[in-house]
Symmetry: C2
C-alpha cells in the first residue's frame, strides 16, 4: 500500500484511512451481497440499512432529538444558501445574518433574492480576521431566522460557541467546515447544514439537520425537489440520492463514535491546533492571521514575515509531502486545514518542517 501524504486541503479533505479501506472493499462487494456499494438500489434492504443507521448514529453522536429531521441533500451548502430563504423567507420578511466572510456574504446574496436581509454584525472592517463581539450584535425586530457561519475557511476564524439569539428566533448555522468537530447543543439550533467534504465524507452530499416544524413551513408550490418536506417525507430517498457519499458519511460517523464521540474529537482537534498555533506564536518568521480569540481549530491561516518566500514555502512543503497549504486565492498566505480526520502526526511534522524553513530563511 503506497505512501499517503499529509493533505491539508480545505475541502475535499483528508478522510479517515480506516473508512477509505472499508470503502475500497465495499466498492467491489458490499456485505457479501455480490454487488458493490455504488451499484446497490437505493430502495434495497442494504442501502435502507445504511440510511437508517446513519440517521441513528448521527442522533447518538450529536444528541439530536426526534424534533429534528436529518436530511441528505445535494448541491452543497451553496444550495442551502438559496433553499433556506426560498422556503422560509417571504418577500416582506427579514432574516438576520452575521457576516463573517465570503460564505456569509454568498448566503446573504441568495437570501436577498427572496426577502430582506439584515446584517447583525460584520467583521469586514478587518478582512474578516475576527468573529464580531456579541456586544455589537444588532438584531432586527422580528427576524424569521438568524444565520451564522460557524467556521470560516478563508480567514480561519471560528465562533467559540453559537451566538445567543433573541428568544424565539430560529438559529440557522452553516457548519460546513466544523460540523461534529466538538460537542454542540443542537437543541439551540433550528437548522444546521453542512457540505460533507470537510468533516463528513466526499463532496456531493449536504447534511441538513432541521426542526420538523421548519421543514413543514415552506410553500408547497415550490419545485418538488426544493421543498424540504419532499426529502423528509421520503427519508432522503424521494429520488436517487448520492448513495456512495451517504455510505461514506455513515462510516465516518461510526468512526467518530468509536473514537469516543464529540468530546474526544474536540480534544484531538484542540490538541492539533494548539501545536500549530503555539509554534506560530513563538515563531519570528510565521504568524497566525486571525485574531487570538477568533482562531479556527479547523483552518489555521498564517503568513510569513517575508511574503516573497511564501510561494517557495508552499512549493517546498508540497515536495516534502505536505499538500494543500496554499491560502485561499482571495487572501493569499498559507492555510493548514486540520479537520477531524487529519492526523496529529502530520501537524507535528509540519511544525518541524516550518522550523527548518524558518532557520534557513530568517
Amino acid at each position: 500500500m503506497s505512501h499517503r501524504s499529509y493533505n491539508f486541503s480545505a475541502g475535499p479533505a483528508t478522510l479517515p484511512e480506516t473508512v477509505i479501506k472499508t470503502a475500497q472493499l465495499a466498492l467491489w462487494d458490499y456485505e457479501d451481497s455480490g454487488v458493490g456499494i455504488m451499484e446497490h438500489s437505493h430502495r434495497g434492504p442494504l442501502l435502507t440499512k445504511v440510511f437508517d443507521d446513519v440517521d441513528e448514529n448521527i442522533r447518538a453522536l450529536a444528541n439530536v432529538s426526534d424534533d429534528y429531521e436529518i436530511l441528505f441533500l445535494q448541491g452543497g451548502a451553496s444550495s442551502q444558501f438559496f433553499m433556506l430563504p426560498m422556503n422560509l423567507l417571504g418577500s416582506d420578511d427579514t432574516a438576520d445574518y452575521i457576516n463573517t466572510g465570503a460564505w456569509s456574504k454568498k448566503a446573504m446574496v441568495e437570501a436577498r433574492k427572496f426577502g430582506k436581509v439584515h446584517e447583525v454584525a460584520s467583521s469586514a472592517d478587518k478582512d474578516f480576521t475576527y468573529i464580531p463581539d456579541a456586544a455589537s450584535y444588532d438584531w432586527s425586530p422580528e427576524p424569521v431566522y438568524a444565520h451564522f457561519t460557524s467556521n470560516n475557511t478563508i480567514a480561519g476564524t471560528q465562533f467559540a460557541t453559537e451566538p445567543t439569539v433573541p428568544e424565539g428566533v430560529p438559529l440557522v448555522c452553516d457548519a460546513s467546515s466544523d460540523i461534529f468537530s466538538r460537542p454542540t447543543d443542537f437543541s439551540k439550533y433550528a437548522m444546521v447544514y453542512a457540505g460533507a467534504q470537510k468533516n463528513l465524507g466526499p463532496s456531493g452530499v449536504t447534511l441538513v439537520i432541521m426542526r420538523k416544524e421548519l421543514v413543514e413551513r415552506g410553500p408547497d408550490t415550490l419545485p418538488t425537489m426544493l421543498q424540504y418536506r419532499t426529502h423528509a417525507n421520503k427519508g432522503s430517498r424521494f429520488n436517487t440520492p448520492p448513495t456512495f457519499g451517504v455510505f461514506i458519511i455513515g462510516e465516518v460517523i461510526k468512526w467518530l463514535r468509536s473514537l469516543g464521540g464529540l468530546r474526544a474529537i474536540a480534544e484531538h482537534n484542540r490538541d492539533k491546533a494548539k501545536i500549530l498555533y503555539d509554534f506560530l506564536d513563538e515563531s519570528a518568521f510565521f504568524s497566525a492571521t486571525a485574531r487570538d480569540d477568533s482562531r479556527s481549530l479547523m483552518n489555521v491561516c498564517f503568513c510569513a514575515a517575508k511574503p516573497e518566500l511564501e510561494e517557495s514555502f508552499v512549493e517546498l512543503a508540497t515536495e516534502q509531502g505536505f499538500i494543500g497549504l496554499k491560502g485561499h486565492r482571495s487572501v493569499g498566505g498559507m492555510r493548514a486545514s486540520i479537520y477531524n480526520a487529519f492526523p496529529r502526526e502530520g501537524v507535528v511534522k509540519l511544525v518541524e518542517f516550518m522550523k527548518e524553513f524558518e532557520r534557513s530563511n530568517r
Copy 2:
C-alpha cells in the same frame, strides 16, 4: 476477490468491473499523489485534469461540438425537471411534452409551476407500454422547447430514435436511462440530461449537455446555483462538485471508448436484449410487456402467465445470484435492467434460469 452477482437493478446499476478496480486503487492514492481521489481539492491540478479529460472524452465519444456545454450538476434528473422550465419557460410560454410515463409526468408537473405545458402525445391509454406514433403528435404553435424521455424504465419502452420536432423548436431529452447506449446525433438536440446512476457512474451526478445559447437564456435573477450559466462559466466547479462521481464517469467514458465507442456498445446492447426478448417471444410462460416496436434495450419488462408465481420467481432468482429483477412497484411484474455495463453472460444465464423455472412451473 469475492464473487459478484448479476445485478439487474434499474439504477444505481452495474458498473464496469475494470472501473471499480480503478476506483478501489484511486480511493487510497490517486496517481501517486499520496492523496485519495475523494480527498483531492476540486481546484487542484489532478482534478482539473479529471474534469478536462471527461469533457474531452465525452465530446470524442458522442461527437458533441463546441456549440454545447457539458455540465456536471447535482440533484438528479428530478432537479432538471424544474431547472429547465425555471430557466427557459416564461409564465406565458408553452413547452411541449411527450408523455411516455412516470418520468415524463413528473417533468410536466414541475414545468407547470413555471408556464404552460402542452401534451403532444401520450401512451397513458395503455399503461405507457408503447411509444406514441409520430403521426399522432400534436405540437403547439410556438413551444419554447419540446421534451421527451428517451427510455422509460418503468414500462420498459424506448424511442427508436429522437422524435422529429417542428423546425426551430429546441429538442430536450431526459436520457437518464439510455444515454451513450447507442449512436445519437446530438446536433439534433438543444439539451440532453441524464442522472449518472444507470449508464454513467454512481448516483449524485447529473450530466447536462446543453447548447450554449440556451445556457445563457435563463434570468440572472434566479438563485445562483439554479442558473446554468453559473456552472458553465466555472467548468462545473462554481462550488465543490461531486468529484468522486465525476471521476467515475470519466473512467466509464474511457471504458466506452476503449470498447469501440457508441457503435460497439449499441451492438453489445442489441445483442443482450435480443437474447432476452427472443426467449420471451418463444416462451409460453413468460412474456414481454412492452409493444414490440417500443421495446427498451435497457429495461426488459416481462410478466408470467401465472402472476401468483412472480414473487417466488424473483425470490428464487435472487437466491441464485440474479439481483434486482422485481418490477417497479407501480406496475409489478419483472424487469431486467441491462445497461451498458451489464455483461452478456448474465443475460444468457438468466435465460437458462428462466427456462428451468418455466419447465418446473408450467
